[in-house]
Symmetry: none
Subunit: 140 residues, 4 copies
């Protein structure tokens, strides 16, 4: 039997809070999704004015980051033409996302969930996801 650590709903709200604060600071209403370490949704918020398409994309960014244990931004680099993961963006029915904005939540070296943000530029999405991570109390 394996023992797995996983974000709780309370944890998810902390992560969303950090991302939302950054989104308000930069003035871009975001869709923010938190998944567990298996990529299953724990919490989601569409700030008033967030994009419709981003309701799905934010979830898929979080799913990708948690499931593949890496940021979607890193996949963006790795999947450029000529790079080893070229073409992976259409995997899993297109759910695997290579646009910045998804980051795994890592505690003591272990992936315990993922955060995905969408509605701004990829750089803005990534910054908000990062702000969520930064808000998250690392357990010592």
């Amino acid at each position: 039997m394996l023992t797995i650590n996983r974000l709780s709903l309370a944890d998810a709200h902390i992560l969303i809070g950090g991302a939302r604060a950054k989104a308000e600071e930069i003035g871009v209403p975001m869709c923010i999704a938190i998944t567990d370490e298996s990529g299953q949704l724990i919490a989601f918020e569409r700030m008033d004015g967030g994009k419709i398409t981003s309701t799905i994309i934010a979830q898929d960014k979080a799913y990708t980051a948690a499931g593949a244990k890496r940021s979607t931004e890193s996949y963006g680099t790795a999947s450029q033409p000529g790079q080893p993961a070229y073409g992976i963006n259409s995997a899993i029915g297109g759910r695997l996302t290579v646009v910045a904005g998804g980051i795994p939540v890592i505690v003591e070296g272990e992936v315990v969930g993922g955060i995905g943000v969408s509605s701004g530029t990829p750089a803005q999405d990534h910054a908000c996801a990062l702000a969520g991570i930064d808000r998250f109390p690392v357990e010592v």
Copy 2:
């Protein structure tokens, strides 16, 4: 009527064993899928710690390799921008995979199945798939 040769479950286990041994050697827990010559799943293993996204991707690599009778690595080259198969990565609902790690199993010139490995770098995935093939007893 046609007569087709197809991997048995016992054959599939041999292939998985070879890929697993290589994965253990390089220290990367892998998802390993074996399909028959029609791309239908025969056997699958997710080593403890293998990636969630790779449970699907490994199967789709094996499906692609068996079904298209070529390695997914070769599709990676052929589907680069400007190349003839550009864009094929999103075919079949995204199941057609162009990232290395899928190899057809060929016996006496005939495709009898496919192996797909995912969770490491594409080069690691390919090496493990190849190790599965190498383990497979060629019938003389």
Copy 3:
């Protein structure tokens, strides 16, 4: 943070072994799938002669049992016309399965995975899934 117990690959093989032994006893080659508690595939075997359609159905039975924390057989009853869960069989793109053969794996009151069996009658599938569960060592 939550702590989750999850089947390991070794556990999955024990479950498959129990189901396979029962399948051999009754003379029906089965597709047998084991998922973790989140419904993600850990291991799969199609016994020689198992049905093609069952490669998917077995996985979806295990996914349903683990994810919904109940047997697919119990969903069969609950989803009859006039019953509260009527129509749920087409949920999640049809993955939610209401035909017997999927059983959650429960250890100390907690779902740690799912087993799904398909290729025989629903009663045979259920019996083989149960045989897998019976083989599983309950931790004391």
Copy 4:
């Protein structure tokens, strides 16, 4: 290694011919699909006037009959409310078809393919599929 018998394209044309002749006799333009034993399409004809929706349904009937090794008509009975396979009609993304018109092609006790017919009433579809089977030379 397993050895599998599979319909050839020439065989598929014989089966289509039998179904088409029956369709012409009853005056209903049909969609007729032939798959191999794994449910993969070998040949397809939409007679002038055949239904658009039936281009998919005929294929799924043949897939179901070959893959599950039984007629879709038998699934119609088995999946009625209160019956063991109730709800199976939405399995495999809805591809599993329980409406009459799909029949496995069996030679010497082994499924070698499937025929699926659609555009008429289920009874007409089944009759045409059967006429295809009847045309097929059983090897002695």
